[in-house]
Symmetry: C2
């Protein structure tokens, strides 16, 4: 068994430690010397790239164009939208100088005090302010609308407690920013992009999500409504996996962005913004992986199939590789990414454990006896089931298996989640049960006071008012006041 | 004629103003409120995306993997490589604080003095230091080598004089960083990646480049050798379009990165780095475009073919669009990006000028008479030639034309460049001629003194010692000293 695997903490022992271990041991990311910033290693980045490619395709289908806006935002821009600045001021990295110089004895470099900026610049925590300042120049009439831009970039939020992918000071994300002539169109856009995220999570990440709207307390700073997709991790905690905001005319008013409508009268522009980040990597890891390591849905696996020849001499190796070559070509032609690992410095057992750790969905192993019998050993990572199958039609068999694994991972995650969603009407019961995780559907009186009380007493928060759930009126389990609907309450990452 | 086009400065009047105008009017980029930082608009970004996609494919073919390293670099990292810090210290954006707070009367946000960083962080101007600090943890033995990583990211160099794409404080780029067991392998890698850049410039950008090695003065800060591709703009100036560095063991020594060789003895690792940036956009624009606007090589044009119906009523419009639909499908199936512009709020003449301004390689226009005659009007952007052609096989005709345009743009640029390369042995002649631009092949005595004198007296610099040029010994035209080879001297961007 590979050393890395032996040292992987078991989920049941310490879920949080298991996650941290796995991120490092599966070569996804590591801490950097810069507080709260991570290095995303090639294997982790390859998964993120696959996510990007698919999302980017969906954005373009939805009529969104990519663009790029500056990393640095003048401090004064933040002050313009009152809630926005309150939301982000406490976690801003601030650039104050633009030059270093040698110190007097030439032994070190120091900040040059004469190179102080007149106005401090903030590394973007999000780009609404700089983008709406730009849109002002792009929008004159209703004919210029809608504008739908997205950027893939890095952002910085100075977090005090960080965890790889889940919460880091710097992270990678995409942020879409759209401008519309009417309230209805903007609201529809915000909901449409939420649906793009939900579809991506379910079809590509095999992660079932609940779509809903956030309470006022949990809204994005400056939004009138924040829509969210919430996923359940294997410890029953929620992970907010993507958000889409209806910003009303707040940013248009702060940056004075108006357009002439068809009646030639000026109106403020309506806005949305929406984003997903490298946080998705955290969801992907936590939803599917197990004590043997990463489990990746085939749609996002950098290597979908690994082939391992088992041989005693070069002659056997060559015969096996020769037999495998047409299968490799057939799979590649079908768009499957295949790796043949014929490296001679690791034993097959080590390789098996290593590719398990890395979550490769399908492993094929072929030895001398297989060669004789025209068979091959096949292991699927999701169930760890192993079988000896006929070599005939193996490429087709593998292709079908990949689809099956993708589907199985989603169904498994959905069953797990659904088994951990509870309707709950009793606060004492809630307080006991919430410690073990799960999503709780509870009536809520709609006040921030009740919300704050729940959070303080249980560390759980209102994740969202879920869409597509048949609501009935009832009584708030905490305050006893009338409640119009149930919300989802859970502890979260 | 479109207003934008009328206002485009002519190249002959003021080449520099023409460039600045064109960048804005063709919707490529615009200045942002942040000093020296630009907004890359969707049309400009779409070109950059096409460049990225192709380069990324080539990097992966060359065995390079993408990864991501932190934006911020601890100041102390810079001091470790002496030349490196000297090269970049004067243009560093420095983060000193991590929080804002409301000022006393709540009217504004200010930097929170209590949130001062213990060690200042630099926004990466390039990432050798943070990457080699990371590689230290990745490399133990010769079996871990080579490591070949690339990242696509933003970098910041605080430039005092900026121009869109050519020189901006923030720019987008890719930076490859490789680690090798031997000097020979590292040197070969640096040259191999230079060739990747040269091929990309010539085949995709249709920009002929001269490959060569930089003089010591012009080397990257910390490199033992810097290889470069140099392109000639239409004003005869050089644009350094990509560089690849052989870094020797400098960074390995600064960050103490050793590996155990096959004899189990520790050795320092050998390094390269290489990068191209949004500067390539500047080259693309300046090499091909004309007084009517942008001229884009088909391989990088976001829209390769635009179709404009010319109609008097909806019936005509519908008939034309119906006739065009199968052609659109056929072109799209062949991988050609086509736009049918049937918008009713602009006249055909405006559209013609606008797509010319934006550099769309092929324009097809169809009116009622064409419909009758089974013809279509075709305009190629590179030569502005217009012809009426038969509608039969038009898709195939257009596909062939696109290849022809790509080729023609390259050949035209190559002819122009070759006609402006001069062997020159007389410094007075050089001083006169260099004012009009061009590349000058001159013998150089190899000293920094001569190099500095030429720069001071003529603003021209040694661009490179060219590869593939048959060298003969001679006499330095400035110092009169013996010279081993000719170098290319030119004014540059």
């Amino acid at each position: 068994m590979a050393k890395e695997l032996k040292e992987l903490t078991k989920r049941a022992e310490n879920y949080s430690q298991w996650y941290n271990d796995l991120v490092v041991k599966a070569d996804l990311a590591e801490q950097s010397p810069v507080r709260g910033c991570m290095v995303i290693k090639p294997y982790g980045y390859a998964i993120w790239e696959k996510m990007q490619q698919q999302l980017d395709k969906e954005f373009k289908k939805a009529g969104v164009q990519n663009a790029y806006f500056p990393l640095l935002i003048p401090k004064s821009f933040f002050s313009r939208e009152a809630e926005h600045v309150q939301g982000f001021a406490k976690e801003c990295a601030v650039v104050t100088h633009y030059r270093l110089k040698e110190n007097e004895d030439g032994s070190d470099v120091v900040v040059d005090p004469s190179a102080k900026l007149e106005e401090e610049l903030i590394i973007r925590p999000t780009s609404e302010t700089i983008i709406w300042n730009t849109y002002k120049g792009w929008i004159k009439s209703w004919r210029d609308l809608p504008i739908m831009c997205n950027q893939w970039c890095n952002v910085m939020r100075w977090e005090m407690r960080t965890r790889p992918f889940l919460r880091t000071s710097e992270f990678l994300w995409q942020e879409g920013h759209t401008a519309h002539a009417t309230k209805e169109e903007a609201e529809a856009e915000a909901q449409k992009m939420l649906k793009v995220y939900a579809d991506f999570a379910e079809k590509w990440m095999a992660v079932p999500v609940i779509q809903g709207v956030k309470s006022e307390t949990e809204r994005f700073a400056g939004a009138l409504d924040t829509y969210t997709i919430e996923a359940m991790m294997q410890d029953g905690k929620a992970l907010q996996s993507g958000t889409s905001h209806f910003l009303g005319q707040n940013f248009a008013k702060s940056f004075d962005v108006t357009f002439l409508n068809k009646e030639n009268k000026p109106e403020y522009v309506w806005a949305t913004s929406w984003g997903v980040s490298t946080r998705l990597m955290g969801a992907l890891i936590m939803v599917h992986s197990d004590d043997n390591g990463l489990v990746l849905p085939p749609n996002l696996a950098p290597i979908q199939v690994v082939m391992i020849p088992i041989y005693k001499n070069d002659e056997q190796l060559n015969a096996i590789c020769e037999k495998l070559q047409p299968v490799i070509r057939e799979l590649q032609a079908a768009g499957v990414s295949v790796k043949l690992d014929d490296s001679d410095n690791k034993r097959p057992g080590f390789k098996f454990a290593d590719y398990e750790l890395k979550g490769v969905p399908v492993r094929l192993a072929m030895g001398a006896r297989d060669l004789e019998n025209n068979t091959i050993e096949l292991m699927r990572r999701d169930t760890l089931e192993k079988e000896n199958v006929s070599f005939d039609n193996i490429a087709q068999h593998v292709t079908e298996l990949l689809a099956d694994i993708q589907n199985n991972l989603f169904e498994k995650a959905r069953r797990y989640r659904d088994a951990h969603i509870y309707e709950c009407d009793n606060y004492d019961e809630f307080k006991t049960k919430v410690k073990d995780g799960g999503f709780f559907l509870c009536h809520w009186d709609g006040t921030a006071e009740t919300e704050a009380k729940i959070k303080e007493e249980t560390q759980a928060t209102i994740r969202c008012i879920p869409f597509g759930y048949e609501q009935t009126e009832g009584v708030d389990m905490v305050s006893g006041k009338p409640a119009k609907c149930r919300v989802i309450i859970a502890r979260s990452y």
